[in-house]
Symmetry: C12
Subunit: 83 residues, 12 copies
């Protein structure tokens, strides 16, 4: 899987911001490519914030549990009830 | 299918944001290329949010079930009734 | 049909957003190139949303049936009556 | 007619949006190049919408019949009477 | 006349929009290059709309007859009287 | 005069828009290069509109007679009296 | 892991700004790549500010404890209670 | 003086717009390069408009006589009295 | 550690502005790369201002002590009390 | 002094606009490079306007005498008294 | 330390503007690179202004003494008291 | 000191505008590079304006004496008293 990475600059990719509003929020990274599999699950406790980029390996992120999410297209809340 | 990926930077592609408003919402990725086939189905329960990029393999995404969707061209609701 | 795809990044192409307002809405992709033929027909039931990019193979998309469409140039409704 | 397509990305070209306001609207693609000939005619029934890009083969599009047209330079109506 | 077309992307050129306000409107493409000659004349009947790009072969377009014209620099009317 | 035209895309150059307000308006293209000579004169009758690009051969355009002119830097009238 | 870094300019990457609102705030950098592991933990005392870029090695940052965070997508607070 | 003109696109250079407000206005192109000499003088009669680009050969333009001038930095009048 | 620096232009990187509001403010540069170590500590007395870029060697900056900080994402104060 | 001018496009450089408000205004071009010498003096009579680009040979321009000057950073008057 | 400077254009880098509000203001340039050392100290008397770019050799600038500073991120005052 | 100047275009660099408000204003160019030395001093009499670019040789400019200065970051006055 040798890739010529000449013009890639991973440090400038877009990111999303997630703030857990309860314990046990999951941020689940899913694999880029032909197969869409779970790549990594990051658990967040209430009040924790994660700022996460899309990467060469991650093309989708799933948020499970009550959280506030900031994206390029606006702000949205995850979880059963809107806080 | 060897492709020279020199100037591609997958981490900067646009993404859409989907928040399920009921259990069993489906986000269905469809294949890029001559054939348009189902590539992957991701199931979302009520309140789950997914942030998903278009990729080398996915050129269309279908949303089935009640959901709120944020895109470059605005916000739209899927599902039988506007909430 | 070997093409050097070096600077193409299919994941950043523009897309349109379609929300079916009735069952049986058709999104019809038409072929890019000298011949304009039907490439693929995707059927949507009421409330389903599809977010679709133009691709190397598709240079036009036709929408048949009542739907709400979001594009770079604004929002438009398809179907016999404006809802 | 071998062309090196290295930096072309057909999926990002601009498009126009056409909504037929009566049956039998024609979207006529005309050839790019020294000769300007009819390349393809797409017929639209009332309410149908087509989103069409300019391509390597098409440098002009003609709309015949009553339709609403969205473009980069604004919105315009075709057909004998302004609706 | 072999030209290396590597970085040209004809599908992204600017276009103008013309709506005929009477029968017999002429859109006349004129040749790019040392000689400025008539390349093609397209006749439009009342209500017909044409969306036309500048091309490798056309560097000027002349409109004869009553028409509404949308351009990058604004809207203008052709023809003897302002409607 | 062989020129490598690799990255030139003549179809995207800026243009000006001219509407003749009387018969016999002249649009005079003048040569690019060391010598500034008359390259072409296009005659316009009242109401005719021409949309003209700068080209590899033309670096100045002169308008003689009453006309309305739209440019990147605004709108101006040619001719003896402001209409 | 030899990488041709020709067009990368690490000094222009985006950054986030974090101000600790209590002692013991943690800024946890997580590894870019197939494995998402803890790369570095930086401890901040109340009032300390850190301005941190994404890098070739870091694609996510987690903030634990009460802090004010400035990002491209807005401002957010971490920690159990909104101050 | 062979120059590789690969990435130059003379048709997209900026231009200024000059409207003569009296007979005998002079637009004087001056040479680019080590020597600043008069390259060309274009005479304008009252009401004539010229739209002129900077070129490989011209790096300054002088206007003598009463005229209205539109530029990237705004509008200015030449000539002894402000009209 | 030979790096081809062809397209890097260190002089255009973003910078932050820090104004010390008391004696003994520390601006601590931290190393870019796999290890995050202290690279340099700059001490500022009250009223001193430093304008500092991110560099090839620095990917994070920590501010300890009362200071006013101007960044791309806004203004923030460091130190125990908001002044 | 052979220079590869491949990607330079002298016709797109920025320019300033100068209107002489009295006879004998001087626009003095000064040399780019290690030595800053007078390159050319252009004399302007009252009402004359000059539109001048920076060039490969000129990196500074001095205006002596009463004049109105339009630049990218705004408008300024030269000469002993503000008019 | 041979560096291929092909795409660097030092003349376009960002700059800051400093106006000394008292005698003896110091503008201290600090070295880019692994070691952060004092590179140059420029002394300013009251009323003197300096406009200074970041360079290949300078990645930080420190201002000591009362001064007004204009930057990309706004205006700030150095020195013990806000004037 | 042979430098490949391929993609440099000195004519497009940013500039500052200085208007002397008294006789004997000095504009002092300082050398780019490891040593910061005086490169050139330009004397301005009251009312004279200079428009000066940063260059390959100049990375800082000092203004001594009463003057009005226009920059990318705003307008500032040099000299002992604000006029």
């Amino acid at each position: 899987m040798p890739v010529d990475e000449r013009t890639k600059d991973p440090s400038t990719g877009d990111y999303i911001v997630i703030r857990a509003l309860e314990n046990g929020v999951n941020l689940i990274g899913m694999t880029r490519g032909r197969d869409t599999r779970l790549l990594h699950t990051e658990k967040l406790d209430a009040g924790e914030v994660i700022v996460a980029q899309f990467t060469d390996n991650t093309s989708a992120m799933k948020i499970r549990g009550r959280a506030e999410i900031l994206t390029r297209h606006g702000r949205i809340l995850s979880g059963p009830d809107k806080a």
